[in-house]
């Protein structure tokens, strides 16, 4: 049987074989790690589903393959030596080749589709469009016809960027054609054509885009193109935050417990503010705004391979030390590329902190389909006015990027005001 490239995350389109854990001829048992796959986000171990012998490696280490494409072959226990024609278990979402049209043999008594009609009985001539298709990226439901889903898959179009004109807002072929007026006959290249050709000289080094970099490029370009961003900046008095951190850490160290960082306090304050402002804890669906009842804060983490966003689930209900411990663990996994897809999906708002690099302030691109992202700058000392006299004060500047489709300026400003209140009085966020 063929070993197929597994689908390991929502955004994965192809994977790279990082390492084979078995050699050709090795005996493999169900549950053994067969191969390690590098996806757009992580390194994932892929286990064998069955007992057998690895007979062929089709994609060597470092090679890449589309989801569902065979990367190796194994002979399953009981299968004959030449077992080439074993049926391949279809991997979810894979369509490497043209499926055959079902054909009924001419012989009389051979029902060829034994039980296809198990779906809901729809009364006569019922209006269409009541069946929910699979969820789109991050759970936002995209209504699109199967034809559109296939064409979008083949041409690399993100359906989340289209508006449907069919019944119930369904995306139909005509919408896709309007969005991509490319020649219909020739299959579109997988990559979006680069807007500007880059002249390359012999002094330049060319690094092909890895799948992770490609995903980052696509998602963030989509975000900037489709979400109308506006930015709200506010500078807060960070003195109390620094003081709280110092006092807590002194006690934590004495109790032999791990320390907390300024970023942990910011994450906690953001979570509390989001609980009070559900409009910021929302996502833009094509024909609806989805308000999330749980607060899952994503934290942007820079890794050598690129940006990843692990998620602190239910961050508003966690203690500060719990957040600190989880954030440290997730950041460590992110740098080692050991995050599971579950640990990287489902965030409802994201925090990006470049303070540790000395950046005073910056603006961040929204992690779609969330309504906003907070860019956190460094805590800095500067002259300020305290009680009518100039004194040295500690300040921090935060910038909120907001998707104007979901949230308006005043709402964003109120959220930011509440957040500033929490940052300047951090014990309110902590207790």
């Amino acid at each position: 049987m063929d070993i197929l490239m597994p689908r390991l995350s929502d955004t994965m389109e192809e994977g790279v074989v990082a390492s084979w854990h078995a050699k050709v001829g090795d005996e493999v048992h169900a549950g053994d790690v067969l191969v390690e796959i590098e996806t757009d986000k992580a390194l994932m171990e892929h286990e064998s589903y069955q007992d057998g012998v690895l007979t062929e490696i089709l994609v060597p280490e470092g090679g890449s393959a589309d989801i569902g494409a065979p990367i190796g072959r194994m002979r399953v226990a009981g299968e004959p030596e030449d077992g080439a024609a074993a049926p391949t278990g279809a991997v979810e979402g894979s369509a490497p080749a043209q499926p055959e049209a079902p054909a009924e043999p001419a012989a009389a008594a051979t029902p060829s589709t034994p039980d296809t009609a198990t779906a809901a009985a729809v009364p006569s001539g019922a209006p269409s469009g009541t069946v929910a298709p699979a969820a789109g990226t991050n759970g936002a439901r995209v209504r699109a016809t199967p034809l559109v889903r296939r064409l979008a898959r083949e041409s690399g179009v993100d359906l989340g960027t289209l508006t449907g004109s069919g019944p119930g807002g369904r995306i139909i072929r005509a919408d896709l054609d309007r969005a991509t007026p490319a020649p219909a006959a020739a299959p579109a290249p997988v990559e979006q054509p680069a807007a500007v050709a880059v002249p390359v000289t012999e002094d330049d080094e060319v690094t092909p885009l890895g799948s992770m970099r490609r995903t980052i490029a696509r998602r963030l370009a989509d975000s900037m193109r489709t979400a109308p961003h506006f930015y709200l900046t506010r500078t807060v008095d960070a003195g109390p935050m620094g003081q709280l951190r110092a006092e807590l850490n002194a006690k934590l160290v004495a109790a032999d417990r791990p320390k907390i960082s300024l970023n942990d306090i910011v994450l906690r304050a953001v979570a509390v503010a989001l609980r009070r402002h559900p409009e910021m804890n929302s996502s833009f669906g094509e024909d609806a705004i989805v308000t999330h009842n749980r607060v899952h804060v994503g934290m942007a983490v820079a890794t050598p391979a690129g940006l990843v966003v692990p998620v602190l689930r239910d961050a508003d209900t966690r203690s500060l030390t719990d957040i600190a411990g989880t954030a440290r663990e997730l950041a460590g996994k992110a740098r080692d590329r050991k995050l599971s897809p579950a640990e990287m999906t489902g965030s409802t708002f994201t925090v990006s902190n470049l303070g540790m690099f000395g950046v005073d302030q910056f603006t961040a691109v929204i992690n779609p389909p969330e309504a906003g992202i907070l860019a956190v700058g460094a805590l800095r000392e500067e002259p300020g006015v305290v009680d009518g006299a100039v004194a040295v004060v500690k300040r921090m500047t935060v910038t909120l990027s907001v998707d104007h489709r979901v949230v308006d300026g005043a709402q964003g400003a109120q959220f930011l005001a509440d957040l500033a209140q929490l940052l300047e009085n951090p014990w309110l966020a902590v207790v």
């Binding site: 008594a109 589709t113 001539g125 919408d175």
Partner: protein
């Protein structure tokens, strides 16, 4: 037709004739060709058949080959099953498909199963011709299309020609077939005319026909509804839509491949049946489309069928209950609109 002066030129070309005439001529030619072929049924001899399909055949072939039977559908159908098992090739006429319900046990329990139940030791080369369909003001028990019961049953073949040429080609194939074949006619089709090939080439059972090629939408029908679909396609053409019509011709085996390939081309479909909607042949076709052309569909498959009532006698109510060309056109337009093309 008179005997040809030379064999070849006469075999080529076509002749215009009615569906009724095509059936009559084919039966006569088969009686001439093979002495094992015999006809059985109520009033097919002296009365020449309720629909005059067998006109003149008793006189020409005598009572051994053209048998009038008593009003006893289960009895004479069972006798035909036995005759077929012993090597004859009986063609039974059941006056209407409604009366075939009285012979269900012989057809479903015996004709369909004997080959398999006895390990292939006996074949049942039996043809059961029977007309169905509403629209004749014959009321609820005489106006049905219960072909679903037979298409549902493995071991039977079920064909339903929509035009004189297919009536000839499929009847030749049915008589030549070693399995029992339900040969469905439709009262509304008997007087329709068309070009019929002069040669005796059978039409393979299990092959649908593209009776009108098109690119915008697939209309699928069989028997009378295939003809209605062609009319609907003409009406759609006048509105600028290029509909493709698939005539199933055979309900078992069902030519899923032709259906699926057509829908892959057009991305949407309307299935038309002259019968109740629920659990019907249209449902089977729609499921096949979903199975084989899911990734090509740009709108849900729609079905047009008759109202789910016992068919009324009153003409106005009967007309209202039966599917009409208008209904197909409306369903097609709604489907095209759902794809943004309508």
């Amino acid at each position: 037709m008179s005997a040809p002066t030379t064999a070849r030129p006469a075999a080529a070309g076509t002749t215009t004739m009615s569906y009724r005439q095509a059936l009559h001529d084919t039966l006569r030619n088969e009686l001439l060709r093979d002495e094992n072929v015999l006809l059985m049924g109520e009033e097919i001899g002296r009365f020449e058949g309720s629909y005059k399909i067998t006109a003149g055949l008793l006189d020409e072939f005598g009572p051994k080959r053209v048998k009038d039977t008593p009003i006893a559908e289960e009895g004479f159908t069972g006798a035909a099953v036995g005759a077929a098992m012993l090597g004859l090739r009986p063609v039974v006429e059941v006056m209407t498909i409604n009366f075939s319900l009285l012979a269900l046990d012989q057809i479903i329990n015996h004709a369909a199963k004997i080959y398999g139940m006895f390990g292939g030791q006996a074949k049942v080369p039996l043809v059961i011709r029977t007309p169905g369909g509403g629209g004749q003001q014959l009321a609820a028990t005489h106006s049905q299309n219960v072909e679903l019961f037979y298409a549902f049953t493995p071991g039977l073949k079920v064909v339903a020609p929509s035009n004189p040429a297919d009536a000839k080609g499929l009847l030749l194939a049915a008589i030549a077939d070693d399995d029992p074949v339900l040969f469905l006619e439709n009262l509304a089709l008997y007087n329709t005319k068309g070009e019929v090939p002069n040669d005796d080439t059978p039409i393979e059972i299990g092959r649908a026909a593209i009776s009108r090629p098109g690119t915008d939408i697939t209309l699928i029908g069989y028997s009378r509804t295939a003809r209605m679909a062609l009319e609907a396609a003409d009406r759609l053409a006048a509105k600028g839509f290029d509909a493709e019509v698939v005539d199933l011709r055979s309900l078992r085996p069902l030519d899923r491949r032709t259906v699926v390939e057509s829908v892959r081309k057009t991305s949407c479909a309307v299935v038309v049946e002259d019968d109740w909607l629920t659990y019907g042949i249209g449902a089977e076709v729609a499921a096949s489309i979903s199975d084989g052309a899911f990734d090509w569909l740009d709108a849900p498959v729609r079905r047009v069928a008759m109202a789910e009532v016992p068919l009324p006698y009153a003409k106005s109510l009967e007309t209202a209950a039966l599917p009409a060309v208008d209904d197909i056109v409306v369903a097609a337009e709604q489907t095209l609109r759902a794809t943004g093309r309508g």
